[in-house]
């Protein structure tokens, strides 16, 4: 694998990390497998695209997408999921139904064409990295991925909210018994996780482009990452994203038509030995 491909793999992994970290946070704490996460990614991407083209600001696009998707997440959590609280399977299937509706609505609003989110001028062009010319924007995605990893790590390990989230992952009932309003922690996590999906949509929309089946593709990768990394573990998402991102790029280089198949291998191997994922804990 050349340096160029290695960087492609790393930047793709960074994007996957942004999306999948939100997915696993929600899964880990709320025990909700939000299958609408892919749809939120795509929806966020479209919103970001619209704002960025209309207002000409990439930053505003990202912020708008995060806000819009957080609002959707709020509606999903407070409006629908509350009715099936405590029933794991019903929650998952309900979120799947929502994903269908959301995708169809996106299709109505933005049509079936593929869009690319315009990137700011400062990020156009490329750098020379160890003799390889590489697009600046993708390095920016890599940097953002790393920053978000650090940010989430600090949030989870060094703040009060993070302590509550960690405690909630282990035993939500005990946290509640200690006098904490766990529902509010749940909601905050849900909003944060959703916003990360929206952010990922704009970031990914600028180099992978946005089209109607993009949500399914990103959802498969997120699922694979959670299966590999384990539920609710930040390190797990990091390692999972790196594995999936690099393997997918490797697969595309070696046999482009069957690239999808490459992520199947490690997933199978890990499930055979650690059904809960590399960093997952038994419930």
């Amino acid at each position: 694998m050349s340096l160029f491909q290695l960087l492609n793999g790393l930047t793709f992994a960074a994007l996957l990390f942004v999306v999948a970290s939100g997915f696993t946070l929600i899964f880990g704490l709320l025990r909700i497998v939000n299958l609408a996460h892919g749809a939120l990614y795509l929806f966020g991407g479209y919103v970001g695209f619209t704002i960025a083209t209309k207002l000409g600001s990439f930053t505003l696009g990202i912020m708008g997408a995060m806000a819009a998707v957080a609002v959707m997440g709020f509606a999903l959590n407070e409006g629908l999921l509350r009715f099936v609280r405590g029933f794991e399977l019903r929650q998952v299937l309900l979120s799947l139904g929502v994903a269908f509706v959301l995708n169809d609505m996106s299709l109505v609003i933005w049509g079936g064409d593929s869009f690319t989110v315009p990137i700011p001028e400062e990020l156009m062009g490329g750098f020379r990295v160890f003799g390889t010319f590489y697009p600046k924007y993708r390095l920016f995605v890599l940097l953002m991925g790393i920053l978000i990893f650090i940010g989430l790590w600090v949030l989870i390990n060094k703040t009060r909210l993070g302590a509550l989230i960690r405690a909630g992952v282990d035993d939500a009932e005990m946290v509640e018994a200690a006098g904490i309003n766990i529902q509010r922690v749940f909601l905050m996590t849900f909003l944060l996780g959703s916003a990360l999906a929206g952010m990922g949509g704009v970031m990914g929309g600028a180099f992978l482009s946005l089209y109607p089946s993009a949500d399914s593709e990103i959802l498969v990768f997120s699922l694979a990452i959670v299966i590999i990394g384990g539920r609710g573990s930040l390190i797990g998402v990091g390692v999972g994203s790196l594995m999936v991102g690099l393997l997918n790029t490797l697969g595309q280089v070696m046999f482009p038509e069957l690239a999808y198949f490459v992520i199947f291998g490690p997933m199978a191997a890990i499930l055979a030995f650690r059904p809960m994922g590399l960093f997952g804990k038994a419930v």
Partner: protein, 316 residues
């Protein structure tokens, strides 16, 4: 959730015979279009019933059955249109492929349960979808595979309907025998308590493996005849929508009822036809239906009816 089947009662057998009789004479009263719909209902009813083996009798919700079903359809169409094999041989190969695919899914999935099982089957199914979409040389990519592949003996749409009706009866009988066998009882034991069955000395993973593979076999049968019905296959046949629709059919019919699958298939296909004649937003309607059922009637129509009746009976 009640998984008890009451098929031992003579009433049940009588109703079965009556439904079958109506099914046999139906083509004399229906238009060609309606017979086509009825055929479609029977095929998807079989698929939904194969899912019910897992959901209703094993307590494992699969979101990968659309892929198993569609893999069989793909193989049949590929064998006939590209490899030039006879349609009968193609059907055998299609079902074999589906069964092997299900066995691979099962090998990985037996170690998981609950949400993890669902996620894993979902991810595996989507990998199949991704391959069908991208491996254009074999699968035709987005365009799919097309060809008039139905054998001459079944060329007439009424004959084909009767053939599918007979097949559906056979599959129903087979699945019923399967879930009511001692093996099926063990599966129900696993559904109710994994750990208890394990401590009683049952090999739980092996039972799950066989249950899943059998379920995949029946899904493959449905998929193979779907190739004859549709004469066309594209990635949407293996897509998540397919798995979701057929799971929804099993749920609407009531999980653990088997026959309910045909009711669920009728309801959903009727709804689909109704909706598509007014709007193109089937995906939205499907999503909303799914969401509402999850909130209000997760036990399905038949299950809801039984629950209401039980409530009524206990009052009197």
């Amino acid at each position: 959730m009640s998984g008890l089947s009451r098929s031992k009662s003579p009433m049940g057998a009588l109703v079965g015979v009556a439904v079958m009789a109506v099914g046999v004479i139906a083509p004399f009263f229906l238009s060609r279009y309606q017979i086509g719909l009825a055929t479609q209902i029977l095929i998807f009813g079989m698929l939904a019933m194969s899912i019910d083996i897992l959901v209703g009798f094993t307590g494992r919700t699969s979101l990968g059955h659309g892929a198993i079903f569609g893999a069989s359809t793909y193989v049949v169409l590929y064998c006939v249109t590209q490899a030039g094999l006879s349609p009968y041989l193609a059907v055998v190969l299609g079902i074999a492929t589906a069964t092997v695919l299900a066995a691979v899914f099962a090998l990985l999935a037996v170690r998981t349960n609950g949400v993890y099982f669902l996620l894993l089957t979902l991810a595996l199914g989507m990998i199949v979808w991704g391959i069908c979409l991208r491996w254009t040389q074999v699968t035709g990519g987005e365009n799919g595979l097309r060809g008039d592949i139905r054998p001459k003996a079944l060329a007439d749409y009424k004959d084909f309907y009767w053939f599918i009706l007979a097949l559906a009866a056979l599959v129903t009988f087979g699945i019923r025998r399967f879930v009511q066998s001692p093996f099926g009882l063990t599966l129900r034991g696993i559904r109710d308590s994994d750990s208890r069955m394990r401590s009683l000395g049952y090999n739980v993973p092996l039972h799950l493996f066989i249950g899943f593979t059998m379920s995949g076999f029946f899904a493959g049968v449905a998929g193979a005849v779907y190739a004859f019905f549709n004469n066309f296959v594209s990635p949407s046949t293996v897509a998540l929508t397919q798995s979701v629709e057929s799971l929804l059919m099993a749920i609407i019919g009531g999980v653990g009822t088997l026959y309910g699958s045909f009711i669920g298939a009728s309801a959903l296909i009727a709804l689909q036809n109704l909706v598509s004649s007014h709007t193109e937003r089937w995906q939205s309607v499907l999503g909303i239906t799914f969401t509402l059922i999850m909130i209000f009637a997760p036990e399905g129509i038949v299950g809801k009816f039984r629950a209401l009746r039980a409530k009524y009976a206990s009052k009197h």
